[in-house]
Amino acid sequence: MALEQLSDVVQRCQALPDDSYSSEDHDVFTVAGRSCIEEGHSPQVLSIVLDEKNQSVVRSMGWNLLPPLVQVLLRKDDKHLPQCLAIFNHLLETCGPKELLIGLLELLEHDDADRIAESLHLLLNPLQKVLLRLGGRKASSLGMTLSSVLDQLAKLPVPDTKEQEEDDVFSLGRCCADLARFVGPFAQEARLNQSSANQLRNSHKTAGEQEEGAEDELRTELLKFCMKTLSHPLLDVQIWDPDTLPLSPLRTFAAEILDILGAVGESLPGLVFHPLLKKKEVPGFLEEEVRYPKNSLACLAHLVFVHHLAADTFPSVFSPVFCLRCNMEHISILLSRTETSRLQKGLELYEKSLVRVEDGSLPADLLEIKTFLTVPQNLVKVMTICPKHDLRTKGLKVFQLSIDKFNTEAKYRFFQYMLRTSSHSGVEGYIIKNIKNQIDAALQPGNGNIWFEGVHLLPLLRKVFSLPDGPETDLLQYLDRVMESLNLLRYLVIRDKITENQTGVWTELYKIEDTFMKPLRVGVNMSRAHYERELQDTREKKKKNTKEDSVLSVSVGGEKLPKMTSESQIQALHSALHTFDMIESVLVRIEELVEVKDGLETAGEPQLLRA
């Protein structure tokens, strides 16, 4: 039935002049043709399509047959596969490129990862053929194609482990390889355009304006494509180095993207250092921010500095401090998100940039650059609230590394800044420990500096020896900070001779007693009294076994958590009391040490401290 209809309409159209086919003709052809293919009459359709007399019809309407043809081709085991393939290829050569393009792009769209992967694998080659037929007018069509392809690619799940990349269950690796192959000739064309443009520039001739426009458009589309891939999938996948994964389609793809960037005339240093270079506005199709999206540049910097892709072409003359400064922009972008892949990349890039710099060499004026303050803030977030343990650990490691690279003055300023802004007891405690190490270093013979001894040290110490809420400070919440402060004070009192007073602690001591030690004593006593009372109450409650209606209840995932048993409560209270004992013991020790030292020096002076 359908076959007859098809033959009829084709024959009728043979008689008509080109392009005067009615819309009814189009419809009949389309419906009948599709049905024929679906019903298995492909051999007959093939002969119709190949018939010399029908070429005008085919050129005009043939592309409508694409959907059922592609269905058959995707099925792979259809018995009419060869015929359908022959029809398909003929259409690719005969029909109008624009119509073919639209038809093919429609067939890329799926929701299902398998279908997407298979369609891409099948259709990228035909798409390439069609685009090449467009000649000099291909740029915008290429852009449209690349955009659609990347949209589909974005729907494929990314591998989480190197085994997953090897297995490539969702074919992301294969699709990327297909995509690279697809883009190849266009990148090559851009490369050749560039070199001939260079030659023309060198011989002071100007190319035809139209040509230049088309070449620029091609370059722009390819640049847009590269930037998009850098954002996805490359930013979200882990790239494995050759020794871990010798054959990595994703790493190969990344390298190819870098190559394409070179083909369109972008220099890698120019891109990586882009945030710091004041580039002139490039007149063209894209705004600066769209042309060089920050996420993409950050991914690029990571590929270059951590994975050493394109290492052969990246100049080895840039100063490590300059590289660090540029990379801080990228690191800031990467660390300001919460996705594991981005944080991982941010930490790696930061580490690699720091390692190239000598210890104690970074000057304090770097701290006037915004990113040198925002990145540590981001790091603190990673160290304290990131759910992944190895990221927290790595974050801390990189944090300490960054401190080690600062010179003495910069360390001083940095510690001041962190104490002022971090508002996390653990971080403050860590900084205070660093301060202690710096003081220790400064007290070594020959190492004296003006920052961690004498006049400048005192303001810093004042920040350390303080309680946020005076005697009412929650000692359990601020435990890390309080303990490190006490440790530091004990260290100073032991290490610094009262007669030398290099750190100034002895002249400051009476103030420290007033603003820190005495309130702390009071706080410890108050807290202890409170918790002891709580403990007693809890024990009595337990004895009486009264059910208490608590004011609060906690639920997680919709399930209410059981109330803490009396046993656990008692344990927790004991633990708190133990903490207070610990604080007190260090306090007492310090007081003892002070008395002893003072006693040796100031016979007859009134006692300094009584609890």
Binding site: R191, Q194, S195, N198, Q199, N202, S267, P269, H308, A311, P315, S316, V317, F318, S319, P320, V321, F322, K352, V355, R356, V357, E358, P363, E409, Y412, I450, W451, V455, H456, L458, P459, I498, T499, N501, W506, T507, L509, Y510, D598, E601, T602, A603, G604, E605
Partner: protein, 220 residues
Amino acid sequence: MAEPAREWSDEQLKSDDLPKKDVIKFLQDNAAHSFLNEHKLLGNIKNVAKTAKKEQLVIAYNQLFQSKRFKGTDPVEDVTEQVKAVKVEEKPKEVKAEVVDEGPPKYTKAVLKKGDKTNFPKKGDTVSCWYTGSLEDGTVFDTNIPAAAKKKKQTKPLSFKVGMGKVIRGWDEALLTMSKGETARLEIEPEWAYGKKGVPDSKIPPNAKLIFEVELVSVD
């Protein structure tokens, strides 16, 4: 100014009954500024009391009467009698890093081809160069000159702002001495190259002396 009277005998001074603070107060009231400075007796009495030993104070007291360096005997005594305690600001003042003259430059330059001797780059100018970098043993670790001369038309020389710390110091310093068109051979000590660290994961090892052949193509 009449000489102040000796209030205490040696025995009284050494006695535990006499608090340090009293001695210090006397000294601060009566001794010249320079004397107090030398004996570390300036500042808040309480502080001085903590850092000074009784024996030191006794010695100082006696020395004061021996040397007669009382107030008013300093050549320029226009300092205030009460030296205030050192005021420490919250933010330490900018301590500008002094430009330390580190000695001789840590690179050498041999001119292979003369430049125009007129166009010398200044700090902040954009320069473009062709270059080849190698280690002392001859290993080439970097170059932007493509292998085939024909391909040179397709690639561009390296451009950057000179004298701004964007490149290793040897380059920054050397290029400022080159004129347009000059080709030079630079031998750069590690201190002005990549130093103790070298460049990890690359051909440049720690403490490497680097040799560059550089052609300064243009200056903007």
